[in-house]
């Protein structure tokens, strides 16, 4: 009992109140806001270039396989 008492007394008190942190964590329900950029002329041009290349190449299937994304 004496040992337990010593350990108890030696343990430092929490430096700050944990309740506000816990409440904040409960309020924040782990949702993330995914903000996808608006599609503009840059994205449209990039898409057109990619599709244009696929139209131009003689064997699109072979080309796509060689690109590593298909």
């Amino acid at each position: 009992m004496r040992t337990l008492g010593l350990i108890d007394r030696a343990t430092p008190a929490p430096s700050e109140d944990l309740w506000p942190r816990l409440r904040a964590r409960i309020a924040d329900d782990d949702r993330v806001a995914l903000r996808v950029p608006a599609l503009g002329w840059r994205e449209a041009t990039a898409l057109a270039v990619a599709l244009g290349i696929l139209v131009v190449v003689p064997d699109p299937f072979r080309f796509l396989v060689a690109s590593g994304i298909f």
């Binding site: 950029p37 696929l54 064997d59 396989v65 060689a66 690109s67 994304i69």
Partner: protein, 143 residues
Amino acid sequence: MRKLRRRELLAYLIGAGVAGTILVFPFVLRDAALRFFLPGRTVPLVPFFLLPVLWGGWNLLWARRQPRMDIGAWGASLGVAASLVFNLYLWSRDAWFAAALLLVAFLPVVYYLLWHLVVGPLNEALGVEGERVRATETSHRAL
């Protein structure tokens, strides 16, 4: 031992996760196309299964260096490097074909779109971009 920062590790996982998801195309759709529509057709394969490692590492570099450029451009530069490596790989395997040169234009554009529209928003949502944003906010507050 040098410790990896949380946001750098997260950046690696985002890059690897997005590229790993894209691998469904070569692993499932291409396989199905070859099996059902083009049986017996031989196609030049590149080590596409390494893409998650490459993308993860590239996004980790992005998080560590925070270069002053759009993340789409950062992804496009990886596309340039990948297209050159793929060309060299095909050439070393005697599988190179002239149209493969167009990969130098095609991959950067596709990578730009994927990094700009997918990797970038994920980085922002999960806090990979946090440090620079916080630093900017602090400097604004100081002003």
